[in-house]
Subunit: 231 residues, 2 copies
DNA sequence: TAATCAAGTTAGCTTCTTCTAACAAAGGGG
DNA sequence: CCCCTTTGTTAGAAGAAGCTAACTTGATTA
C-alpha cells in the first residue's frame, strides 16, 4: 500500500494544505499563485488527484483534501519543516535560501534519512555542546577560519597541526577521507600511538614528527585531520 | 550564461564521467545498465546532449564528453560526493541508503547550501569536538536516548531539565523553535539571568523555578531547550 | 567469405506536466 | 434584471523522459 507520489503531486497537496490553514477555503487561483503556475495546470492536477482519492472538488467550487490527501500533505510538510530546520539551524542559511531548498529537497529524501536529519536537529537543539559546536561551525563557515580553538572546552584534545615544536602527544583519532586516512594509518599514525613534534617549517608546512622511532614529515593538510591529546 | 540542466541530463553526464574513469570507452549499453534504463533512452539523451554541445558521438561509436560536458559532470559528481559524505559521516547512514539518497539530492541543492554542507563535513572532520559531538549524536540517534550526558566535556553546562530541585543556575542560551523560544524569552528566561529550581513534579513535568523573583512553572519539553550553567 | 549475434538506432507510443487561447459560470453593481 | 468582471474550465499543443518492437551495423566465428 506504500504509494508514492510525484514531486508535482506532493507540491499541490502541500499547497492545498498550507492554504487551508491560512484561508477559509482553497481556490484554484490562490493555488496557482502559491505554486507559480497557471490556473489550468491546477485544474488538471486537481483532476488527477481527485481520481486518486486525495482531493474533492465540486465544479466551480472549492478544493478540499480528503483524509487520505490530508495525511499525505501533512507528511510532505513535515519533511519540508525538517529540511528547513536543518538548513537554518545547523547550516545557518538565510530563510530565503533555506525555504527554496527545502521546497526541492522535501521530495527527495528517504524515510531513514529524514528520521536521522530530524534527530540531528533535535539533538543540536537540546545538547549544550551541540549549540556550542554549531556556533563554532557557523563562525568557521562564515569567516573561513576555524575558531581558535573551540574555546572553553577543556578536553586537552587538539589537532596535530596545532602542536608546537617539542610537544608530545598521543594520537586519538585519524580523520580525513578514505585515501588520506588509510595513508596516515599506514604511516603508523594509529590511535594510542605517542609522537613528538620535532620541527615545524616556517609556514607550518611541513611538520616533522617522530613516531615509533620513525621520522615522518607531514603536510599541514594531513596534520589537520589527526586528533591528538597532549601528554 | 548560468545554464542549468534537468536531473535526467545531469544523471547521464555523471554516468558518462564515472564510466570513463572505470573503462577505456563509454558505450551505450553500459550507460543503460548503470542508470537502469533501456538503450533507446540513452540514445535519445545523447542526441539532445550533443545538440547542447556536452557530448560527442560518432554513429555506432563511443560516447565522449566535451570539455564543457566534462565540467558539468564533474560538478554534479562533486555535489554527489558532498551529500554522500554528509549522509555517511554526519548522519551516520549506511552506504546503500546514503548512495541512493545522494543520487537524488545531488540535483536539488543551491550553490550556497552546497558550500555550507561541504564546510560542515570538513569542520566535523577537522575538529576534535566535532567528532566527539557527532559520535554522541550517532549514539543518540540509534539508541534514542541522549548519552547521559555528553560525557567528558567539563563545561558545567546542562539543560534546565537536568537540574535537581534546589540547584541554582544561570541561563546560557534558549533554544527551541521560533514560537517556543519567543515565549520562553518573554517569560524572563533570558541569557545571564539566574534561577533556582523550586520543585520538580514526580515524572519530571512540570518543573517549578524562580527567576527574577517570579515563580514559573515549565513543561519538561520547555525546560529541555534551555541551556544553563550551574552556579 | 558468409552467417550470426550483440550492440546501436529508429519509429512510434505513453505518461506527466505545463502552457495558451478560447469558452463558461458566478456574482456584484448599475 | 442584465451586463461585466473575475474565476474556473476545456481543448489542444509542446516538451521531457521513458518504453517496446522492429530495424541496421559491425564484428566474430564457422
Amino acid at each position: 500500500m506504500e504509494t508514492t507520489y510525484t514531486p508535482s503531486a506532493e507540491d499541490y497537496l502541500e499547497a492545498f494544505y498550507l492554504l487551508s490553514l491560512r484561508k477559509k477555503v482553497v481556490r484554484v487561483k490562490d493555488v496557482a499563485a502559491h505554486l507559480g503556475v497557471k490556473m489550468p495546470s491546477v485544474v488538471a492536477a486537481v483532476k488527477t488527484l481527485a481520481e486518486k482519492g486525495l482531493v474533492q472538488q465540486e465544479r466551480y467550487g472549492y478544493i478540499e483534501l480528503t483524509p487520505k490527501g490530508l495525511a499525505v500533505a501533512r507528511e510532505v510538510y513535515e519533511r519540508h519543516k525538517t529540511w528547513y530546520s536543518f538548513l537554518t539551524e545547523i547550516l545557518g542559511l538565510d530563510p530565503t535560501t533555506a525555504e527554496k531548498d527545502a521546497c526541492r529537497l522535501e521530495h527527495h529524501i528517504s524515510p531513514l534519512t529524514l528520521e536521522r536529519l530530524g534527530k540531528l536537529v533535535s539533538f543540536v537543539r537540546e545538547c549544550p555542546h551541540g549549540s556550542r559546536f554549531i556556533a563554532n561551525f557557523q563562525e568557521y563557515s562564515t569567516s573561513g577560519e576555524r575558531p581558535n580553538f573551540c574555546p572553553g572546552c577543556g578536553t586537552g584534545q587538539k589537532l596535530l597541526s596545532e602542536l608546537k615544536a617539542g610537544e608530545k602527544a598521543r594520537v586519538v583519532r585519524v580523520g580525513g577521507q578514505d585515501m588520506l586516512k588509510k595513508r596516515l594509518l599506514g604511516m603508523g599514525l594509529t590511535p594510542g600511538e605517542e609522537l613528538i613534534v620535532k620541527r615545524i617549517a616556517p609556514l607550518g608546512d611541513p611538520i616533522d614528527i617522530q613516531i615509533r622511532n620513525y621520522d615522518l614529515s607531514l603536510r599541514r593538510e594531513e596534520a589537520k585531520v589527526v586528533v591528538v591529546e597532549v601528554i
